[in-house]
Amino acid sequence: MRVLLLLALLAACERAAPPAAPAGQGLVAGNPLLAHGDARQTVAHRGTRRFEFPAVAGAASSYRERITTDGQGRFALEPLEAHQASAGEWAQFELVQRVRQGFLFRYRDFVVRDPERFARNWSTHTLTRTEVVAGRDCALYHVERLQGEPRTFELALDPETGLILASREHDAGGRLVAEMRYETLQLAPDLSTVAWHQASNLERPVDSVPALATELGVRCLEPRLLPAGYGPIEVATVEDGAGTTWLKHTYSDGIETLFFLQALEPAGRSAGSASTGAGVQGVEAGKVMVFELGSARAVQGRVEGFRILAVGEVGETELLDLIESALP
């Protein structure tokens, strides 16, 4: 019997072990995708980019935009055209894109957000061939997730600037999910007439959550069970247009991001009145509502007096576990 149990243990350990990491994958140093950090923030450039989303129907399945950065952290994204869009659809699409350019710049593009977790959760393979993108010779890389669904990215990196000039994202079934490609690229452009993005959500980093809780007199939640491979990267407060301040926890597995937001409001107010802001209609206390938005999911609700949001490209169970683990 003991022999059988030992054999079972050995078999289980073998099955539970992660796949063997490629040589050097565990090292942050030497990974070409980590050598430049987020080059968009450090290399002043202007370019037009084309985005394709094959799984999306309608006007927004393919569009072009102009990106401008000053290399000092300022940026501007201007939508140029959406293919197959009527005039009305384009007007609405352009408005939404302009309003959300802060979100798009931070969370849509391929960016390594946490080098340590990227090296741990994703494998990087250098392809032998090269590709010319926007007139620049680019090295090609294949990036694949080691845990969970094997999502992959094919990246074209300009070795000189560190800019990723093309990316193709595939889902676990090998289907193309999203594609981005620079059509033109101008380094050191004239920036005198650029209307830079101005953030309007008053985001402020939070150094200490307990100190914030003491200062505001509210109980701050913090998830204790994260999806596999994810870890915290930042905590901040943000304000929405309805006058609600949210405590936003951001997590990442190196590339993908996951958000947990809690409305910072007095306990009496959070008990369920309908006047506490937008987006809570139809969600009763003690319930959470799950929304599917393409590859992303959002869960919102009121639980035990707390207004909560969780958003990420992870499974529904993982988001629900995240919320449950945050409750006192």
């Binding site: 149990l5 985005f51 309003v99 999910v177 007439t193 959500n201 247009g241 937008a278 959002a298 639980v303």
Partner: protein
């Protein structure tokens, strides 16, 4: 102004780099370009104002078809009408009469209002505890204060028997305990991996699946759509 000047200025305003030849020949156009460049520079140096955060939410609501707050905004924008002066006079006169009422009468009214309130009874458990305390005070005290009784020590023979037994068991544990722990851990891991982790965990909340995105908070929607490629759904 000549036609060539007009053509140059129009071309310059469209793309300044494309129109350069005529400026070298025309002093008026040189001055015009210099003035335009000063204007651009001055405008570019102005501080850019930030749109209020409420605008984003209002735009999102309008785009999502939510017109529920239009009525509220329209009502808030109406000019507020003041009360007529006759009303103020009547209120002042009524308050004056109220001040003159008799103090005793007011106290009687208060006493009557207090008598009309519901009398709150003590909970039943309190009555039961009080009755038990009065009927058997020693027993109640013993039950509640056993911690204050003097503690008796165990006999020496018991300590010796325990020591020898502990030594024997320690030897056994040294050999068998690691093996047993290893086997138990392996069994748990094997069962967990064999059956998968599909079992639904009980949550302290009810989960509802949304059929539309309308109830979704605009902040959450913007974040989710940005993750999914920035494509509005």
């Amino acid at each position: 102004m000549r036609d060539s000047c007009l053509a140059f200025r129009s071309a310059w305003e469209h793309d300044e780099r494309a129109a350069s030849g005529h400026r070298d020949e025309c002093a008026a156009c040189q001055q015009w370009v210099a003035a335009r460049e000063r204007l651009c520079s001055a405008l570019g140096a102005l501080t850019r104002l930030t749109a209020p955060a409420a605008l984003e939410l209002a735009v999102a609501r309008e785009l999502s078809g939510d017109r529920s707050e239009r009525l509220g905004r329209a009502l808030q924008s109406l000019v507020r009408r003041g009360a007529p002066p006759e009303l103020d006079e009547r209120v002042a006169a009524w308050i004056g009469r109220a001040d003159a009422t008799d103090t005793e009468q007011r106290q009687e009214q208060r006493a009557g209002a207090l008598r009309a309130l519901d009398v709150q009874r003590a909970p039943d458990v309190l009555e039961r505890l009080l009755r038990e305390e009065l009927e058997h005070p020693e027993q109640q005290q013993a039950e509640r204060f056993t911690g204050s009784l003097p503690r008796l020590s165990a006999p020496a023979a018991l300590a010796e028997r325990l020591a020898s037994s502990v030594r024997r068991r320690a030897l056994m544990r040294l050999v068998t305990a690691p093996l047993a722990a290893l086997a138990a851990a392996g069994l748990i891991l094997w069962i967990a991996l064999r059956t998968g982790v599909d079992e639904r965990r009980p949550y302290r909340f009810q989960v509802v699946h949304a059929s539309t995105l309308e109830p979704l908070d605009p902040t959450a929607r913007a974040l989710a759509e940005s993750l999914g490629g920035g494509v509005p759904r």
